[in-house]
Amino acid sequence: MPSEKMLMNGSHTVGEAAVRAGCRYYFGYPITPQNELPEYLSARMLDVGGTFIQGESEVASINMVLGASVAGGRVMTSSSSPGISLKQEGISYMAGMELPAVIINMMRGGPGLGNIAPSAADYFQATRGGGHGDYRTPVLAPAGGQELADLTFVAFDLADKYRNPVMLLGDGLMGQVMEPVVFPDFIDLEDLPKKDWILDGCEGREARALFSMLLGQQGELYQHNLRLQEKYDRITAEEQRWETKHTDGAEVVVVAYGTAARIAESAIEELTAEGIRAGLFRPITLWPFPLPALRELSRQVPRIAVFELCLGQMVEDVILSVGERAEIYFHGLPGGIIPTPAQIGEFIRSVVKGDGTVGRRIDV
């Protein structure tokens, strides 16, 4: 039975959803602004007979995740931007070895130590690998409490289905939202498909070895990478997610995700009252980016206005999708600055008027 409607902090929501989705192993290190998540799980895991370890670093934590994944568990870690940088080695290894895991990134201002305010400057890091090698990780971008819960379930399912690390990308604000949430029912671990590749002792079978090093001279690594790419192509074909609002007949469509999308949504509501026909295209999977859907939309509307909480990362995927089919405008705020809906309204108005007062036109 799904839960009753609960009012819950965003970080706690992710933790509760993970536990309900069958996660029994969490390894993480404190970093603002996501400490509420490990704090929540340090108690909640005990309730369900799971394991919680506060590792000695984000590096240690991601490697504990690797070990628990290899052993067959549903496992999660979480961090924020600088800590996610530390995890890249482990993520690359897990992608190479095809290991499922869920990684939560509650982004903060950067680069370097930055600040603890919500920012969205890790889009490149999340969608363009972050670690070394030819690999991809699905990236999910929730835009509210209910989505934090629902997409956590999706993350675990995608991770297991494709044997890949999956990232849930939030930010400091998402971590703190207090919104009503209805949680899906607890997943029965017995119902999950059995994994025939895990390491649990070779009694009764051949010994297994899992590794990502392929030194052979017969093109083994080349073949392996082709296989991985085939997997990523399947994910791209089948797992794109996005949401559109008021895009029919719009004179401008805002493209934004996560917290930025929530602000844009409020701005759009206000502008609609003024008679400006503004719509919203909200990617939910940042990888695979919903390129075909946005391309199709850009044939029908004259202007695309990209709004990001950084100086321009997703906009590159928008350019790839839209090309010259519509005018592309960009407005971004780095360093954890969160604008008001009114300020974004200014941007949208400026795009419609073409006066360049807020943001800028992208030369494609």
Partner: protein
Amino acid sequence: MSEQIEYTKIFSRPESLKENPTHYCPGCGHSVAHRLVAECLDEMGLRGKTIGVPPVGCAVLAYNYFNFDMVEAPHGRALAVATGIKRVHPDKFVLTYQGDGDLAAIGTAETIHAANRGERISAIFINNAIYGMTGGQMAPTTVLGQNATTAPGGRDPRLHGRPIDISRMLAVSDGVVFVERCALSSIKQIRKAKKAIKKAFQCQLDDLGFSLVELLSPCPTNWKLTPKAAWDWVNEEMVKTYPLGVIKDATGYEDKK
């Protein structure tokens, strides 16, 4: 006169060791260490429930030689990976097999904390005082005056710092119940090493805590010595920096002589 004499085989390849010939250099300690680990697992009936984590180093391909479940770990992270495995399968037997760079340079934090948490994991630490796989650079355990490609002219305390004794450092922690240092450079020491490994494994089986066996290991290739001279160097020189013997024993086991 042809009497049929009956023979029993008293020494052969353990089941936990595959038939694949190893790639290790002539006189390398890894082969003996692999065999000892395999013999102990066989004799204690552990092969079917063992999950091992090899290092990044000369033994990176250990899964081609050991006949039990193994998973590669990023360099130095073996004890964190082992922690994840053991927490999912507390009833299985988890060991790491690591070199000096893996365990005591890049992996120092993971080593200290897994040990300090008292993880029920057994670590086999192969100390050859050099970085083998990458061609002879200085290791954290390279001894003073010893030559290395990144310490030309020999290790100098001012330029390169002193060698680290990670085993003694680990012994300070209450989570660590057994640490012994043996060598692979004489028959007597090899036999002692096997006993130490068994004892370390028993610690895990008895849920006592973290155990580690350090094995001083000859590296003829990177020391630029013959195998025999490499054995002598361990026995005469290396033990001055890394004395052999039990470093910590909080097991309460009574040793059979």
